[in-house]
Symmetry: C3
Subunit: 346 residues, 3 copies
């Protein structure tokens, strides 16, 4: 964290928030509600943590109007405390200082166009005809194939690999170890031997997307794989060829999406979810963690289980499963009673 | 894609296919049936896409004899349209031009033998005694440990890591971020503390294998981990130590195979499948996506579920599960009826 | 393997083991029981392999007292044969020879402190203020951000990425492709658009930890993500932000642990396990492979299934599931019998 300090009134102005408490209350850092110290700001978003509010040592707390009555400290009242926390955290962020220009050790192919305000780090390697727009950052050790396009303010952390022809929009963030535009898994069996299907499509990543560490996104077989704008992928995610992920969709860690599947906009895929190939998932679909989606989903809503189904149905089935033991007992009792009734008849 | 054009008769010759339509019909690209434009060739393999045939704008369609009657355009009749598509896609592939020789920035240990026709890219690092055979390609930023062997025409994309002693056959393709020959997960507990078990074995990868982006394959503990020839691994796959994967087996994305398991030949593991350690999977076994294999499989066939079982059995169980609600209702009705019968007796 | 030879009596001294057989029996290698050759040592730990003992061709076998009567060869009797095997394997390990000093091609930021006994390989890149302690090894192509701390005897294999501020203890091993300290997946939705939550915390890795190939461990949002000492992570593992993994806990391949979860000490997570966020897992908990932990676990023991439950309960449920067919048959029979009884009444 940097050493900046902020007062309650400064932060109220910055956030457009209503302030309660002494306007000159100072904070110089940010911390969780239960571990914050004086001169730190904290936030209350998840109701689970409401129990920490009364005892917090923070100097200021970001919270919703419903919680201000129970706040023992100065407060900033906001509609979305989690978003306000994100905005305040930005104030305490140390922004690394990337020198403009291309490091002397970078190896660039013919015809690369690097904007003078961009940063290209040590041991970066680029093929032919790569374009890097203004204020983009290509950290050390990144490798970009021929004709890769990097938009303005886009940032590749160290050790990102981008295959030829991939297009990255503006303000995209790609974390280390990510591989973008690798060949899709296309193989055709012929006389008992696999034959590789050339992957002629590309990969297009929209503005404001973020791609996590060690995530891989394949290029298309014939057309492009597409991550629309504001798509957010966590770490260790695998996106197959020809997939399209809709705008504002967030994908948690360890998710795999098989080839040619389309995910709608504003979807949420929980950790470890798998989505089979050639499916269509509607907008506004949430799939809870560890679920496996094996059929297309045509309606917004929450889905769970393996195979994934409406969350309420799945929860109901889970309850039934836990009652199997009781069902077996009931059947046994019925068998005894019916046997007795039948015996009487004789 | 490159700008080559091909006529119907040229493609018929190339594929050994029967042609229907004007011999001089020209194509200059390849696209899916529903989005193809005039002067593009397309293909019909998956029956799901048959509905697009009548309306396709493609100039030529690759298809089986059963579909030709409904094809509105020129056609090439083949036994395996998917394989024919792969062959035609090769014609439109841009083959990157790798200069022979070792880039000036590559750092090679003593005793490396690099064939003059091989390509070694910028910032490649090799240990001692590495051998790289004719026409092999080691792209930028690859790191190869001591005594690694790379066969003819084998291609490592950028940022591949190969630990010491690993042997790669001919025509192997390894995608970026893959790690080959890392230590297996061998730990022995002693007095409450883990003790690392040295991993003394190696890793051998057969001819024509393909290994996906960010996939990891561990070296053996005492003997070699083995991928036989024509094994195909997708992205984000994890292969534990001492595993042997049989020839022509294909493994989809996000699969994990635990240590000392043997997979047969011509197997198919769907996306996200897990296979426990110390198992033996027979030849010709297919495991559907998201399944967990916890016991050895001794017979060819299709297996599904967690734990994995014969696919027909699993599907049957899934049906039963969906009927649990009805079973509970039936039990309730029986209880009422039996109670009534018992009450009458009194 | 190196070419060292050892006698039975030397090994007995080294291990503190009781020897049976000719003291001058020589071994020059180590191999599994069923494939060992003369002049190799083997071991019997897993009772599954007891059947190979009578026929082994090994010259010496490491085993427990209960097996010595059936051993046809010289033997070393130990309490923990697997640990003894690890110790003997160390004798046959080829220790790579890392030259002290910083490779001429390494690019170091200002204020880095590299101990003269440390090894820094080709094309390593470090930010400002990095410290590397005595005997540490940073292999080729590693990239370390600002202020990273590397403890004594810690070893980073090739292509490891360490984000700024991460602290690694002593004797830590990190395998290739691992990414340490990447941003956690923190996003806040605001007016339909995701807003990135700055990840201001760090990552601390304790002494003797091992981190597998292509594994990713995120930095904390406000405080540190922590791997305590002797934590062992296999390949392709994902650890979310703010997670704490307790000492001596081992995590198998392809496991994902979501953010803000605490795992106790001496836990074992099997391959492919998922753990949801904001949970607390007690000490001494084992979770079997492919399970999904969705609730906190407050008591030591073995847990299985999705959602994870006590292993005995889960196994019981699995048995019941397999009996669903029979339950349906019983209900059908009861329905017929009751219908007959009811019909008689009329």
């Amino acid at each position: 964290m940097n050493e900046q300090t902020y007062t309650l009134s400064q932060l109220a102005d910055y956030l457009g928030a209503e302030a309660r408490g002494e306007a000159h209350t100072v904070v110089r850092g940010i911390a969780p509600l239960d571990s914050a110290q004086p001169e730190q700001i904290s936030f209350l978003d998840n109701p689970k943590f409401r129990r920490y509010l009364a005892g917090t040592r923070a100097s200021i707390v970001l919270l919703g109007a419903q919680d201000v009555a129970h706040c023992p400290t100065a407060a900033l009242i906001v509609k979305n405390p989690y978003y306000a926390y994100a905005k305040v955290a930005e104030l305490f962020q140390v922004t690394p200082n990337y020198a403009c220009g291309v490091h002397a050790t970078a190896v660039l192919g013919p015809g690369c166009e690097i904007h003078p305000s961009a940063h290209v780090g040590a041991y970066v390697v680029m093929g032919a005809g790569v374009s890097v727009a203004a204020h983009a950052v290509i950290e050390a050790g990144c490798i970009l194939g021929d004709r890769v396009q990097v938009g303005e303010h886009t940032r590749l952390y160290a050790h990102v690999t981008v295959y030829s022809g991939v297009r990255l929009g503006q303000r995209v963030i790609v974390h280390s170890g990510a591989v973008l535009g690798s060949d899709g898994f296309g193989i055709a069996k012929h006389q008992g031997h696999w034959h590789k299907v050339p992957q002629l499509g590309g990969l297009s990543v929209g503005d404001d997307a973020e791609i996590g560490a060690n995530t891989s996104v394949d290029r298309g077989a014939l057309q492009d794989t597409v991550l629309e704008h504001d798509v957010r992928l966590d770490n260790q995610v695998q996106i197959g060829h020809n997939v399209r992920v809709g705008a504002h969709t967030a994908v948690a860690g360890c998710v795999g999406i098989a080839g040619s599947t389309t995910i709608g906009e504003h979807c949420l895929l929980g950790g470890g979810v798998g989505v089979a190939g050639h499916l269509h998932i509607a907008d506004q679909v949430a799939v809870t963690g560890f679920s496996g989606v094996t059929k297309s989903i045509t309606q917004a809503g929450v889905y769970s289980g393996m195979p994934a189904q409406r969350d309420v149905v799945w929860k109901h089935n889970m309850v039934r499963l836990r009652q199997l033991e009781k069902m077996a007992d009931k059947i046994k009792l019925l068998e005894q009673q019916v046997a007795a009734l039948l015996a009487e008849k004789v």
